[in-house]
């Protein structure tokens, strides 16, 4: 499994892709595989403040409910409306399915997140498939 080089990762299996002052956030391929068929996503509205480490929404599969944890703090600027009607896109392409975009409050927060190599190591230690 290859994890995109321009993303950073969290131990809660979210990814964040910075792009200047903003960043896109999603869940990793490992997360979608663990969840199984995703059938529902609950995301915050634009304008919502999210805080690093705190929950900002949830993703549900047929068998499980999983909280989404913010990799970094910021204000939601965009929400991926496609996921409301086609949440299965996350299963098909987790790294290509951004959930929210935020205006980063404190870009330095990204420094403490996992690199692709660190995340891959973390996943294999978790007993990943």
């Amino acid at each position: 499994m290859s994890y995109p080089a321009d993303f950073k990762y969290t131990k809660e299996h979210e990814w964040i892709k910075p792009d200047g002052a903003t960043a896109a956030i999603g869940i990793t391929s490992y997360a979608q595989e663990s969840l199984g068929d995703i059938v529902f996503v609950d995301l915050p509205k634009p304008g919502t403040e999210i805080t690093a480490g705190k929950t900002f929404g949830s993703v549900e599969s047929v068998k499980a409910v999983s909280d989404l944890y913010a990799p970094a703090s910021g204000t939601v600027t965009e929400v991926n409306g496609e996921l409301a009607t086609a949440p299965e896109k996350i299963n098909k392409d987790a790294h290509g399915s951004w959930m929210v975009k935020i205006k980063l409050k404190n870009p330095d927060e990204l420094k403490s997140l996992l690199s692709p190599a660190d995340y891959e190591k973390f996943v294999s230690e978790e007993g990943g498939h």
């Binding site: 199984g36 529902f40 047929v62 068998k63 409910v65």
Partner: protein, 352 residues
Amino acid sequence: MVDFNGWDMPVEYSGIIAEHMAVRTGVGVFDVSHMGDIRLAGPDALAAVQHISMNDASRLAIGQAQYSALLYPQGTFVDDVIVHRLGEEEYLLVINAGTREKDFNWVRENSRQFNCRVENLSDDFTQIAIQGPKGVEVLLKLTDAALSAVKFYWVTRGTVCGLKNTLIARTGYTGEDGFEIYVPSDEPTSARVWNEVLEAGREFGAIPCGLGARNTLRLEAKLPLYGHEISDTINVWEAGLDRFCKMEKPEFIGREALARAKAYPMVRTLIGLEMIDRGIARDSYKVLDLAGKEIGYVTSGSYAPFLKKNVALAYVPPELSLVGSELQVECRGAGVKAKVVPTPFYKKPKKR
């Protein structure tokens, strides 16, 4: 893999939705060996079965089966069960995995006064379910038994995968046509039969199915699950299983309490819910009225893959149970609107 009542079982093989749809449109294969098997045999076997179960087993011809339940004296559930009449004086009860020990002890204790043997055959059988509209075509490739003569909820014996005298039952827990076969439980035989079933089913799109799809399938068909819709604190009337409870039988364990209960209004009844607003009602979520007051709880709830809706079964007071009523389910802290709908949510299409 998860621990299901002491059994190491897969939640899914390739994905719950794919497995669910395979059963609804073609065929899916389940290893259901975790279920238990109790045989009652002897001159008083029927009398014993009649005493311990609520349906009327005297209606069963040899080769016929019925859905039934073992009840406590209070009229609540020990377990639900399929009663199969295998012979003149021989009955097989197929029971839940989680209640194997409890059920066997219950059956043995409560049939002591009858002249019949009670045997726990649970470990003797590997049970494989072949479920879906194409299930019969798969099994026809593996057996010499005349399956077209076996109606739904009837059983026969035949050679299956070379194993003589194998019990074949046209039963299942999916709401589709299908069969359950009972083969010897030794590992080589079990593995061989499992693989041969999947191989025979390949041309029909057969795939192995796990617990996840087993649950979504039975939920769509409104088939009860012990510990959810039925339990030792829920009675037959509340669970809506009246038609399987033959009060005209003069005696069975639980009959008196059920007769008494009929004289009082019910405090709760099992209903079907369909979510109106965005949210998935799940097991044990609270049910609220539109004002937000807690009025009941969800027994089983999930996304339903065939219906493509979020559905649930729940207990609520009878006065709030009318089809069409709007209620709410508390999903992760917020009330989400739902409406009471008729059940079962899904019924298999009639044969053309």
